[in-house]
Symmetry: C3
Subunit: 292 residues, 3 copies
């Protein structure tokens, strides 16, 4: 594997290898990379957690991080993404983690530039490392994804997470369902009854309401969303024994999830972030080792 | 000690231990920390000097610094400070240095999150590492704070520095006085006559006029402030032999202090910044060692 | 040599020493610096490539980089550049790389502050490391600069690159000519006929049209500029065998250069950026070694 831009490129066997390697990193195994590498994280869209999670993973792999300030870059002077990436190639950057608002931004880069491209999220398209950390969190919990029932709730039409997860989770044997307000389903087929879907789910995956993508067009208030599609205290009580709650974050308290449930026993929300570091270490190491 | 949020938490004995450790670092002693730690500096208000001073201290202690970009973070997406800190805890950050515009922002964090919290300034509240570097600078100069007369001049009602220093300096045996324009005294009792206060002071501590906090409401021009409450060339000549000038910076030349005096023999202004690095090393090391 | 603020300070012998050292770094020689140094890159004007190129060079020399955020600094609170630099001196920074919009900003710093100053570009004045990387690229190509014909085309009056290069290239034995739209020549004497100048040039150095400096006053459109002063496909065909194309970047595709030519056989545009890292390593090491 040369780059990681979407989950489609990863076979089931590769996903399992990554899960095992993430687990090894979590258990304290050190990286066995032989060479020194330089990495740069190009975040053209704001993100605390994903950028910092990559930074921690990169430090733990002993990579040299060269900071890139998107708000202060030559793209201000009208430079194309391709030209920016060629500059970074020229000065010796080996790996680029890129988040960009444009879907499939990576198509103009793949096979045309030397640095490894790791997709940190493209528009409403893909977010493969988020998908891998979700998979790892479920696998760590249940030991397998086979036959697990996973219900993804919310703004699925705008969600990179839903898109990246749908295919991969299914290939790993899980049963994936979607629940969302009418008109928010995008290309997915939505399940009508949230409460019915909830009762036999092993995993409830809540998605962030992206207020910034629905500018004023949302038909309901935050309170209404919470009552209809949020995880209320009442709904949580109906969940199966051992079922878990996930959210890619940042979450809106009392919108997607009741504030009291964010850190409840079922919640794996902060665990997901913890796992993100190990999964990112595993993917970066796998690609670099393929090159060594 | 688990965190450092205000000077009140530090006993006189602890302050003396910190002064000695800062001196040891200044003399070239290396840190004896055993483990690797990750630190992140969360500056929600602009600050060149404090942030960079912490960064230098952290590098000298061999900490790994994970950059945090406040202007680019998920707080833009409405995330609470608590949730941001929980994210950083999840990805493995051990120490957080936080500057925030809200007084006592740390109350929602202490005892609820795992990372060590070091307060880099909260609103008009506390700024304990600034206070420690002021104390260290006076102690280094005179060998003691006992009976030293310290006059703090300026915008004391809005000043974290005045607030953090008042209590600690007094506990260390110093005599602290305040001079300020009428109405600027906040909770402090002000001394009326600047020139009289000046004559027997060992330390003259000038505070920055915070133009941004007095929007248009200041009753006098910069020139008037300088004449009434600034250190003019004439006033400097009236100072005691061996008395020193301090300022937490950034200073406004020819407002709080005549430009010619910024680097005069009495001035410890740049010395304070130099000392800030050693004091910050001492406090971070002390807290981490308590944990090891 | 104590600082590097303009090409004028470098003798021909020093330039040759730098070229040889840059070549050694390119060939894999490691730095022989003995001490640990701290560096900070103060970019008050946006620049991806120059800032990142310095960062890579600094990492390869094992310097500790303390980040400086110009948009977030105390200059917002009205601090002078001199005072900012004194702060950085106080906290222990050894080397400052500065880009600033004001011509000759460094005059208020040289001989007044301890840190080494390396000019990363001042207003429309100097850009010595860009000049050195241009010289290195030509030297690497032809083995010498003696008698090479170098044509610099474009916005020469506003160009730090033209200004820094004009003198140094001439001292190294090259023949330098300028081509530009009427009124854009600044202090230089311009050559009238681009096509004639092109035919016997060994090096064609294209400069970026700085739209931001010509606000609305440009007499021609991008297409017109391209036809009159840009490197079109037709013009490229008239170039001498072995002649090369250079551009300091960022470039405007289809303005200064036809998009198809950016990566053509003659183009050394990305090579220049690659060389920039080695040249910057050479200059920083030379100055630091002079101090050791």
């Amino acid at each position: 594997m040369r780059n990681l831009v979407s989950m489609k490129e990863l076979s089931v066997a590769q996903i399992h290898a990554l899960l095992n390697q993430a687990q090894a990193f979590r258990d304290g195994t050190a990286s066995t990379l032989k060479n020194k590498y330089m990495v740069s994280n190009l975040f053209f869209e704001p993100s605390t957690r994903t950028k910092m999670s990559f930074e921690v993973a990169e430090r733990k792999l002993n990579l040299e991080i060269i900071p890139f300030d998107a708000g202060f870059s030559s793209t201000l002077k009208g430079e194309t993404l391709y030209d920016t990436v060629k500059v970074l190639e020229s000065i010796g950057i080996d790996i680029l983690v890129i988040r960009h608002e444009q879907n499939n931004y990576f198509e103009e880069l793949i096979d045309r530039v030397k640095p490894i491209i790791i997709n940190g999220g493209d528009g409403t398209g893909n977010h493969p490392t988020q998908s891998l950390l979700d998979i790892y969190t479920i696998w760590e919990e249940f030991g397998t994804l086979q036959d697990k029932v996973i219900t993804i709730v919310g703004d699925i039409g705008h969600s990179r997470v839903a898109r990246s997860n749908a295919d991969a989770l299914t290939r790993l044997g899980a049963k994936v369902r979607f629940v969302c307000p009418p008109g928010w389903q995008g290309e997915f087929e939505a399940f009508n009854n949230f409460d019915e879907a909830l009762e036999d789910s092993d995993v409830l995956m809540l998605l962030r309401v992206q207020h910034e993508r629905h500018d004023g067009k949302t038909a309901f208030s935050k309170e209404q969303y919470h009552q209809m599609y949020g995880l209320t205290l009442e709904r949580e009580r109906k969940m199966k024994k051992n079922a878990i709650i996930m959210h890619p974050a940042p979450f809106n308290r009392d919108v997607e999830i009741a504030s009291e449930l964010v850190e409840c026993d079922r919640s794996r929300i902060f665990k997901q972030m913890e796992n993100g570091v190990y999964v990112r270490m595993a993917i970066i190491e796998m690609i670099l080792k393929g090159r060594e």
